[in-house]
Symmetry: D2
Subunit: 420 residues, 4 copies
């Protein structure tokens, strides 16, 4: 379901791992509705292993006996999602999220539960059992829940149709599928089958692929099967990961837009890892967080908040709701890196994009370890003469003559809207 | 258990796949005792999936519910091995094979039954269950029975000790382990653990690794953990596979002997694929079978017969029991390929070996598609002058002066013992 | 010498190989001054081996005794460039080209003449001889004229300074250097040395690197040392080469502009290979030539005409001087491929770019072998609603509602300027 | 010219590099005739650049103007080889070496002098000049003397025939050709052409290929074109190089014998690098030198002495003339490594070979850094019971019962002849 702008929302992984509960989800939804919805954030997603009775955090239990219905389909664990009792699945929770004016998302794994294959349980609408469509050698190296499905096996299509029919009936608006994005061409046929089944499920659902790094040579395929796809392995609040994202974004920049959203992963801001420590907060400095937002927004990555929303502090809220920057996220076009080089011995990068509302964006990033006074000829942006400049975070207006002068701290950045 | 000469015996795979039964095994044992034992053949091996209630031939049933005891250990399927009823396992059958003066062998797969991991069944002598030692991402790409074991997990060593204790108690003399030989260094630690446990099980057991091709760089490791190891993927009665074996043997020749037996796989002779067609016979020509025997014997590969023994025809029996050739199998030393080149436009290979009983062997192989008159200078064997020659198959004696002259048909070969 | 728009001109290789003469150069200059200069074409370049007394066409003579001055520097062959007699070099010819209001360009090879190394001739301003700076193992695999120079050797910098001083004195405005562009990182240090010497020669000279394909990972280096660099091996009038250029352009698109000109190579149009056949004309169809121009211009490749100008026919002239298209070449910004996929079974590509003069360009290319009716949602260009459309070649104006409809022949294309 | 045993002799490189003179050669020949010839050493070889007027040691002069005759053929530099004056070439020196009862060898480079190509000098018996057969892109990365020859060019065969005719006329018995051995398949066709021409030159000449490492996959080719070929890059008196030789020998062992001599390179013993320091002596310890001899001799490498013979000290002479060890060099058959593993924590290797005179050799090598008491079961040699043992260096006889016990210092070794 192609969207005009990159999806924005919240996901439970960064703060709760596999152990999120219904109550937490509801509270985060309520916060979003009250504080973030007006800025465009509108998706609440329950991440991995909502079928587990025992999951409590970021670690997985091998050979966990996940909850299934009678047709080899995973269903929410009632002890963690009480409203799902009585076979109602996620419908009551989705209804509640919808009542807040938000969208409801879930995480799924590629494949069919290993439990189902070993128990020979049926596939809905077929005479086939799970062991007939499960591929015993198609495993995920970091999680034991599922076997991949043999795309050509009788019953395979019906299985995937049956799960998406269930999710549609629940009212799901967003699906993040895991163990598939970077595994091309290995699981390409299975991905195409899944995408086909989802498109025909009768409900508009945003489709998000994980984990990255996505395979650049397959960019056209991603565009055809999905709405967003991860260009990185799990992103966390570490500078080296943010530093590396610049190269990833450089390579994927020409594939962004028109409903296609290469995905830099969740924003690890605010209160993270709540399963381990309620006092845990992001390790990123404020400068790094602004650098992250500048990159995510000029590049137009999806903006999926990773922190526990109810613990959002003032800085984090201001970070996530800066209107100049969110306008760049919405109006940036044709973004790309102009150069990346040493400036006075300090590694810097210059990005630019057209603003669909008029003017041109420039992002200046200090990727090095010392402050630097950058002097950027307007010619590097293919501009010349005298221009009006607005720095998006400080809201400072200035006039540039032939060049931009900006002093940037290490790991910090500046973003400008340049107009006549 | 290092042996002075390469193991000789019979294996059920080539004729029955996974579907052999106790009765068949007994009858093949009886035939061996009567007709082959005096030539050195003395091992009767039950190949893969003797725990399956449903296996009938060369195909595997995915997610087959294999028979287990209460400690996650596979046991024979009673419907196929009736004497195992009442928890007696293979002991009665092994006893019978022993009573014939023969050794009893079984096939096992690396790892622990997937069933056990998913059912969380116990490991003997530990407080641990199978799911704790099973590696959910360690699968065999062609069979769904097992998960690999995490070598460092508490309970892993006890599991392997427990299965070898069981096999020793049954009276097993030979174990062919599958899904491990070519998978180095991936499963190297697991292989070392398994070998350690086997060596300490209290019974001398010949240890055979499958499937190939073994990893040449790991030759020293194979010598330390096993008695024989497959240097090829499954070998069948096709010329291209036999042709390719020459290069495999060339590379492994210096690693043969002193209890180390790089293994060219079963001899697909006589009545094969009996599960599919009782009339099936080897597709090899007689010349090709002799070429195979010449190569296997000068190289000293294990000689494991693949055909249903009770249907052995006269030619096959003569092939398997030629005393000159079996003497070469026993006495060949320092075998290696001297050259492989076009002789008058026909691809030929010359092998040589010292005879521990005196003299020197020479094998001349026509690997091409036309007959060729080979003239081989004795100098190629680092001999000179006048020599006595005995061709091993024809028993023809002759006198060579400076060179060997021999006319060889396509795919055929000659083997000589050369003495003063 | 960074230029605001991509260089435009003519080069002698496609029509004369290594065998061009002064008279031909003059006549092509005269044609350009009269017919092409007003459209922006203003560079006349003498390609490879102008020092050869014997070169007559596209083949090279191994170990050709090229003309040198007393300082190991190549000079024009007087029999082919009479005005160079008396040690005047290319100055008289450059003066003439300048008198036409045009720029004068020459081709050079990386390195120092092999003749000089073997004759131990001096380097200007040093006590060093050529053999001391020549790298005997740094050869060009397709031409025997030169040895590479050891960048760190005493005298190496002086040699390169001495040749650029000579070219500056001649009045050279454009240098195409060969045997270096794709050979990174092998010759990276030599390239940096050459670029340094050129920048300090006292004259603004456009610097062009050959042959391609350039190394994508070295994009930042190319930007720092050169003005244009070949992204392809020699391009000729064959569809497969044009077809492949789409992928090359896709990868290099974000590196185009702001004085950096990834180069798709000469336009093989009009009268080619005049050394072999005066009647030779391009093998491209008209549709293919328009497709080539659309790609070169939206991508902003340099436009260097390959055909003998004095034989330019009406179609070719119209192709090279279409004002809409040349405006796109000048005003295209942020060009990139949107997608490349099967449309109704026919492989198509969609490119877009911002027009610096207002509006947005779209190029629709049929890369397949059948005609196709393309229906392109404006959303693919991140536009919506109703738009004015101008097709650049036909000059047809139309109004698009939500989508562009265009029928395209095989190998053909359409280019639109889209405005409100 | 296939030889029954591996060639033995002396080569000037290790002690004089490219700078040896006639006088030195004569004196080394005289020493060999007097002290070494009776042990089998009988080849005196003048190594690289005997055509250079200026060479004095191990460094090369780039673009050196080597002495040539009128047919593009290199000839000795008269200032260094006075007897060659008047166009007599090496004939007088070869005659003298022959008069001592020895063979005369020379080094050559693959190809034709670059000087000849650039000067367009003629090829004997053809109308062709050197530039027509020289391949301008076939260079040697460490020496600038030659261009490779295009094997298919008219005149190429005649050139190689012409140089071998000259060498045959001089009385050359041994040719070491450089820049070709490891460069397969790149120069394979040129190698085959050279070998053909040499075989047809009318004189029996031993043909030696340099430098290594030779390409194992091309073993059959080496056997057909040459007598010996280097399996290593230049070998010097450093333990790491000797250590690495064990793996090289392991791989090549089955290709040794019957006139084929994989070559471990010169023995860097005694007085080396005399061009730099007359007092220079080998850096190998005595143990290492014995280890080297044990490996070279059981493997049957050519034995080419690298030190200045006239300065041979007593130990070195005893090393080179041990009759037990030279007998192993002559009579070793089917040598190969049995194992290489940690023995009590110390890396050791066991080699064995058959003795053509009766019995079996065993070499025990300590490749580690601590002394070790090795206990080697006779079974590792496929022997059993009680055996007579003779240690070759100490001449100590003993009786082994089931095993060999030997204490070995680091880098040291023992070699035994085992008989009944």
């Amino acid at each position: 379901m192609k969207t005009k702008t990159a999806p924005m929302g919240w996901n439970s992984w960064d703060c709760y791992g596999a152990g999120v509960t219904e109550e937490i989800v509801r509270k985060n939804g309520e916060y979003m509705a009250k504080h973030l919805k007006k800025y465009g954030y509108d998706i609440i997603t329950v991440d991995i292993q909502w079928s587990s009775l025992v999951a409590t955090g970021h670690a997985y239990t091998p050979f966990d006996d996940l909850c299934m219905d009678g047709y080899s389909r995973l269903i929410p664990a009632e002890n963690r999602f009480p409203s799902s009792a009585g076979g109602k699945g996620f419908k009551p929770l989705a209804d509640y999220i919808h009542s807040l004016g938000l969208k409801f998302g879930i995480h799924i794994m590629r494949g069919i539960p290993r439990r189902a294959a070993h128990a020979h349980t049926p596939i809905l609408g077929t005479g086939v059992t799970a062991d007939k469509i499960a591929n015993y050698d198609s495993t995920c190296f970091w999680n034991s829940d599922m076997y991949g499905v043999k795309p050509e096996a009788p019953g395979a299509r019906e299985y995937y149709e049956s799960i998406f029919a269930l999710y549609a009936q629940w009212g799901v608006d967003f699906i993040k599928i895991d163990d598939i994005c970077r595994e091309l061409p290995r699981f390409e046929e299975e991905l195409i089958l899944i995408s086909d089944c989802l498109k025909n499920c009768g409900r508009d659902i945003i489709f998000s692929l994980s984990p990255g790094p996505a395979v650049l040579e397959k960019s056209e395929l991603y565009k055809q099967v999905a709405d967003m796809w991860r260009i990185t392995d799990d992103f966390w609040d570490r500078w080296d990961l943010l530093y590396n994202m610049f190269e990833r974004c450089e390579k994927w920049s020409v594939h962004t837009g028109a409903g296609n959203w290469p995905d830099c992963d969740m924003l690890p801001v605010g209160a993270l890892n709540q399963d381990e420590d309620p006092d845990c907060r992001t390790c990123f400095t404020k400068d790094e967080q602004i650098t992250m937002m500048n990159l995510w927004c000029i590049f137009r990555s999806p903006l999926i908040i990773g922190g526990e929303l109810t613990k959002t502090d003032d800085f984090t809220l201001s970070l996530l709701t800066n209107e100049n920057v969110l306008r760049m996220h919405s109006l940036s076009r044709h973004a790309h890196q102009v150069w990346r080089r040493k400036v006075k011995g300090v590694e810097c990068a210059l990005w630019t994009a057209i603003c669909a509302g008029g003017g041109q964006y420039a992002g200046v990033f200090n990727l090095g370890e010392e402050s630097v006074e950058c002097e950027i000829p307007l010619g590097d942006l293919e501009l010349e003469g005298s221009k009006d400049m607005l720095e998006l975070w400080s809201n400072e207006a200035s006039r540039a003559q032939d060049k931009i002068m900006v002093n940037i701290r290490p790991h910090a950045s500046a973003a400008f809207l340049i107009t006549e």
